[in-house]
């Protein structure tokens, strides 16, 4: 039930107080799926006006990644980058999403700007965002099979899906 805070934003790297790592220091939070929306709501009410970025990661072939204690690694992660313009701060929220139920609550009600980003994460990784008003593909054609950014989606062995399409003549 606790929120695990990792130290510097560059989790895992050297951590010497160089100019670069000093600047990239960001807060990282690991909520559970139940806490997710409430945690984000807390940040929004706490002055994080903008959701700068939202993307998904498939950790299928990198299960042993370093996570703070108490956070069970799952196959997918939804990574949200919130930005506070007033406090000039960023916070990163990493939500673990299991393979068996690749779904997460949508942040659309809190940040309408995540609309395209959540659609992109759905399109490329197959994570369904419950409560999103328009959960369709965004970059790929609507009838595309599979989600290309998944690690078990091969590169270069998929036939070009437009090749066999009937031409206008």
């Amino acid at each position: 039930m606790h929120l695990a805070h990792a130290g510097p934003g560059v989790s895992g790297s050297g951590g010497s107080s160089t100019r670069t790592s000093e600047r990239n220091r960001q807060e990282v939070v690991f909520p559970t799926r139940d806490q997710y929306v409430e945690v984000v709501r807390g940040y929004r009410d706490g002055g994080f006006e903008m959701c700068a970025d939202l993307c998904g990661v498939d950790y299928l072939t990198h299960q042993g990644r370093r996570l703070p204690e108490g956070v069970a690694p799952e196959r997918f992660e939804v990574v949200v980058n919130l930005l506070s313009l007033s406090q000039v701060k960023r916070v990163r929220i990493r939500l673990q999403v299991p393979e068996s139920d690749a779904a997460a609550p949508s942040l659309f009600e809190l940040y309408p700007g995540v609309e395209a980003m959540e659609r992109e994460a759905y399109d490329l990784l197959g994570i369904v965002f419950a409560g999103h008003p328009d959960m369709t593909r965004i970059l790929l054609p609507e009838d595309w099979e599979g989600h290309p950014l998944r690690k078990d989606y091969g590169v270069g062995r998929v036939p070009i899906q437009f090749k066999g399409a009937p031409g206008p003549r």
């Binding site: 895992g12 951590g15 990239n24 700068a52 990644r65 990574v79 700007g113 328009d134 609507e142 950014l149």
Partner: protein
């Protein structure tokens, strides 16, 4: 009359011109003009089916519930009272008969790439807009997972093809953040010089295309002319006009060419007075002002809610520029102003970009003065290849050279998000490393991709003729939107 008829009847079988395709008469129409008309039983045929994006398209009013209608016009942006659009203001009772859905693109001179816009119109007034994207999607984020960090910048540079150096920069900064290396000062300053020149060239290109979209073709020619000067300098420095692959993890590919100060000074001395000429050509021109002032307006709350960044956010009066607010490289050591607007309309976005050209020139002049001597890349042989001359005399240098270009260098396990201010807004890179020489995941937060979300709100209630102007003022680069 009665006498004339029999010969007609008699001649008819012979006189009838032979049909070129007698068989096709009986077949359902599958070619020619009949593409776009539905089959007799009402189902869509031909091109409609083949080009359909399914649910990604704007649906008809009868198939859209009231909540969805309100969403598409931005009534759910969680705005304070008085700023938000009143939900009762939205006419959910209107039927399909009164409105029309038209399609613009995916190929259209004013959509700045392969962007498809679907409008619902009431007469000439735009009610709803939906951008349909993905026509340039080539899976560059997937490709990035197959390339080493050394090769990575050849990939990202092709995303936002009008500001390629910014793409290379953000990837390099992310990789260097994971590596934890300290960059030599000169490489920072060289990078700053190049990205600022790139910002000028990108804004010039925008001025050119925006002028063309508004019917000022002279501006188009002028913008391209000035941009060409900068591209010539890029060619001299990097070897290529675009897609440079010059800013790489660990520094830059080479040092600046001899005499670069003179070239850059000439560019500054030319572009600055030319910017005044644009001012004269456009800013004071009544037709231009009428087509931009008050068009596509946006409030600061709306821009923040929709995650819009860059000149669009600044045009609403929010002084947010990552170069100033969260400085990277050496932007905290140069003096420049952040340009903000007031009304968030097309004219503000135009003035911001025009004045950002001037500010960038100001930064470039300071860079020319302050450019330090030293290395243009970090002298860590595990990251950067050794100089060519060392390969002939040193076995280790040869090994390092070989390793860097075949296997690549390993990056410590970790993840980082780095953001820079590209000409279009916040260009971010979320990079995950599993300790191998290839990124485990590389996500680019494209400013154009996010900024396109503002289109439905900006166009709502405006005229169809202004839709082109609004789309242009967002400055989307489709290579980055679709990636």
């Amino acid at each position: 009359m009665s006498e004339a008829e029999p010969p007609d009847d008699h001649e008819d079988p012979d006189a009838q011109p032979p049909s070129p395709h007698p068989d096709t008469v009986q077949e359902p129409p599958v070619s020619g003009d009949d593409f776009l008309s539905p089959a007799p039983d009402g189902t869509a045929t031909g091109l409609i089916v083949e080009t359909s994006e399914g649910d990604q398209e704007l649906s008809f009013r009868s198939a859209t519930d009231a909540g969805e209608l309100r969403r598409e016009v931005g009534a759910v942006l969680r705005l304070p009272e008085g700023v938000a659009i009143d939900p009762s203001d939205i006419d959910v009772e209107r039927t399909d008969d009164e409105t029309m859905i038209i399609n613009m693109g995916p190929q259209h001179p004013s959509t700045h790439g392969v962007l498809r816009l679907m409008f619902e119109l009431d007469g000439e007034t735009v009610l709803r807009t939906k951008p349909v994207i993905g026509y340039l999607h080539t899976g560059m984020e997937k490709t990035a997972e197959e390339l080493t960090y050394v090769q990575g910048s050849t990939n990202v540079t092709r995303m936002d093809y009008l500001s390629p150096l910014h793409n290379e920069l953000v990837l390099s900064l992310a990789v260097e953040a994971l590596l934890g290396v300290e960059m030599p000062p000169r490489s920072d300053w060289i990078r700053m010089l190049l990205v600022e020149l790139n910002r000028v060239s990108s804004h010039l290109m925008w001025m050119a295309t925006n002028g063309m979209d508004l019917g000022s073709t002279s501006m188009m020619i002028y913008g391209f002319r000035e941009r060409e000067m900068i591209l010539a300098f890029f060619e001299k420095t990097t070897g290529l006009r675009m897609n440079h692959n010059f800013i790489r993890p660990g520094g830059t590919a080479a040092d600046l060419p001899d005499g670069w100060e003179d070239d850059v000074t000439i560019i500054c001395d030319t572009v600055l007075p030319r910017a005044d000429e644009y001012d004269e050509l456009l800013t004071g021109q009544p037709v231009f002002r009428q087509r931009t002032e008050g068009i596509g307006g946006l409030s600061a709350e709306e821009a923040l809610a929709l995650s819009l960044t860059g000149p669009i956010l600044r045009s609403t009066g929010v002084p947010w520029d990552l170069r100033r607010s969260m400085p990277y490289l050496r932007y905290d050591e140069v003096d420049f102003d952040v340009i903000v607007g007031t009304y968030g309309d097309n004219f503000d976005r135009y003035s911001i970009r025009l004045n950002e050209i001037r500010e960038s020139i100001r930064i470039i002049r300071q860079i020319v003065e302050k450019m330090p001597a030293g290395d243009y890349r970090v002298q860590d042989k595990k990251v950067t290849p050794p100089p060519r001359a060392r390969i002939n005399e040193s076995m280790e240098a040869l090994i390092h050279h070989f390793k860097v270009f075949t296997e690549g260098f390993k990056v410590p396990e970790g993840e980082v998000y780095v953001a820079t201010e590209s000409p279009r807004g916040e260009l971010g890179c979320y990079l995950v490393s599993d300790g191998s020489p290839k990124p485990y995941r590389m996500h680019i937060r494209g400013p154009s991709f996010v900024n396109l979300q503002g289109l439905p709100l900006m166009m709502r209630g405006g005229l169809l003729a202004d839709a082109v102007a609004v789309c242009s003022s967002v400055d989307p680069v489709m290579g980055e939107v679709d990636r």
